[in-house]
């Protein structure tokens, strides 16, 4: 097959000039293009994986807050929603999806995929992978390790605790330090390490069971006086296990209640102090059903 160029014979200055230039140029090796293509695919995949990590942290954040108490801790649902919305992680997820798109678009055939297909693909993979990572507990790890560092960000676990450090609003959270079956009060160390004497006269069996079980609890009640360290409890709920947005009933039935607390609960007359607690009926419902 004879394919000899005839530019030497033709009067084509441009072609001659280009050929002259080409004689001094070198063709870029193939491996560089292959590497570049894989590099952008790898960056795209990495961004999607990071998006999955961000989503797992977001999922943990949404799940770790007890949504049953939204109307107790916040004035309305939307105030609560914006408080628990994992903006940092959703922002990170969005950023990684954009980074993923930009990199996949720069691969050899990236331009052939429509924006919607790449974006939806990256979102779906991030969400599916993120859910899997959340199930392994990685979401919590990320939230607790990385989430601590940005100065503008407070991990949701800390944020939620702060809502329960408001005795003036009737909200107290902390660890039960001591609880005697025959006593009318228990001692609680709140999240700021203050010690509280919590009156339990008005607690029903479920709440008493939560106290007896110990650990970290949420107490809803009324401060005895504005300055003292005593608190009148109306409801006590275990902090763990958490009843997240998709969660199971958080407070198990009162199986661990002892005979003595049961007897005491039945014997003690109820005061009217707790009637002012809002939303009382909703709290009764949570108390009775755990939902």
């Amino acid at each position: 097959m004879n394919i000899e160029p005839d530019y030497e014979k033709k009067d084509d200055h441009l072609a001659r000039r280009i050929l002259e230039r080409i004689r001094g140029e070198r063709i870029i090796p193939r491996w560089k293009f292959i590497f570049k293509n894989y590099f952008f695919w790898a960056l795209g995949a990495l961004a999607t994986a990071l998006g999955a990590l961000a989503f797992s942290a977001a999922l943990f954040e949404v799940q770790s807050v007890d949504w049953r108490f939204s109307s107790v801790t916040h004035t309305d649902f939307w105030a609560f929603f914006f408080a628990v919305m994992p903006f940092l992680w959703v922002g990170a997820l969005a950023l990684f999806i954009v980074v993923g798109y930009v990199n996949i678009r720069r691969t050899k055939h990236g331009y052939r995929y429509p924006l919607l297909a790449i974006t939806l693909g990256a979102i779906c993979i991030s969400l599916a992978l993120g859910t899997g990572l959340y199930a392994t507990g990685l979401g919590r790890e990320i939230e607790e390790s990385i989430g601590d560092h940005p100065p503008f960000y407070r991990p949701i676990v800390i944020e939620e605790r702060s809502w329960w450090l408001a005795p003036e609003k009737g909200l107290l959270g902390g660890r039960v330090v001591s609880s005697a079956p025959d006593s009318a009060s228990f001692v609680l160390r709140d999240f700021d390490d203050h010690i509280w004497s919590v009156e339990e006269n008005d607690l029903d069996n479920t709440s008493l069971a939560a106290v007896a079980r110990g650990g970290v609890v949420r107490v809803i009640g009324v401060p005895t006086t504005a300055t003292s360290s005593s608190f009148h409890a109306c409801f006590v709920f275990s902090w763990e296990p958490r009843g997240g947005f998709f969660g199971e009933p958080a407070v198990p039935p009162a199986k661990v209640i002892t005979a003595s607390t049961s007897e005491r609960s039945a014997a003690m007359p109820r005061s009217e102090v707790c009637r002012g607690i809002r939303p009382y009926q909703q709290l009764r419902h949570i108390d009775e059903t755990g939902l």
Binding site: M1, N2, I3, E4, P5, D6, Y7, D12, L14, A15, R17, I18, L19, R21, I22, R23, E25, R26, I27, I28, P29, R30, K32, F33, K108, H109, Y111, R112, Y113, P114
Partner: protein
């Protein structure tokens, strides 16, 4: 030169012997110069500079030539990108002068118009058509030029402009509508 020798064959040969690149120059120099003119690179020296850069870039990147494309699409893509860089770097507006292309455009628009006889009666000057064409967004001019002046398929246009095929279709539809609107009222009504 035997006609069965494909561009892709020449690319393979050029990888072994750089002088063979002259054949690709021979095949594409005039086509691409005309394409640049249609894109609005009005001055001959500018066209030659762009072409020179495009061919050198093509040569240096021959190993990245994607065998799933035609060489023609790949070369048009490089030239198109060079032209866009030229407009950006010079902050120059395209200088559109249409010759016989104006009739091609009108024919295309006319084909979609049910009242063809009426349109045929309209006397639109080349200047009017060129003015309407120049008033379009650059992307719209790109698709019209590739489709109607360069006779490119949707797949080729997708490879040249580096957009999904569906986007090409949308762009073309919008470009035709925009061109109709940009033409004197007597045509679009």
């Amino acid at each position: 030169m035997p006609s069965e020798v494909t561009d892709e064959d020449i690319v393979r040969r050029t990888l072994l012997d750089k002088e063979k690149f002259a054949l690709l120059l021979e095949r594409y120099e005039q086509k691409l110069a005309r394409y640049l003119e249609r894109l609005g690179v009005g001055i001959r020296e500018d066209r030659e500079d762009i072409l020179q850069n495009a061919f050198i870039k093509a040569y240096k990147n021959l190993n990245s030539f994607d065998q799933t494309l035609t060489f023609s699409s790949w070369m048009y893509r490089i030239t198109h990108n060079e032209a866009m860089s030229f407009f950006r770097s010079r902050r120059a507006r395209p200088h559109i002068t249409l010759g016989g292309e104006s009739e091609m455009l009108i024919t295309e628009l006319r084909d979609e118009n049910s009242d063809t006889s009426r349109v045929a009666e309209l006397r639109l000057s080349r200047e009017e058509i060129a003015k309407a064409f120049a008033a379009l967004a650059p992307r719209q001019r790109d698709v019209l030029a590739l489709r109607f002046f360069e006779d490119r398929s949707y797949a080729e246009m997708s490879d040249i402009l580096e957009v999904p095929a569906g986007t090409v279709s949308t762009l073309l539809h919008r470009a035709k509508r925009a061109l109709r609107e940009a033409l004197p009222e007597s045509f679009s009504s």
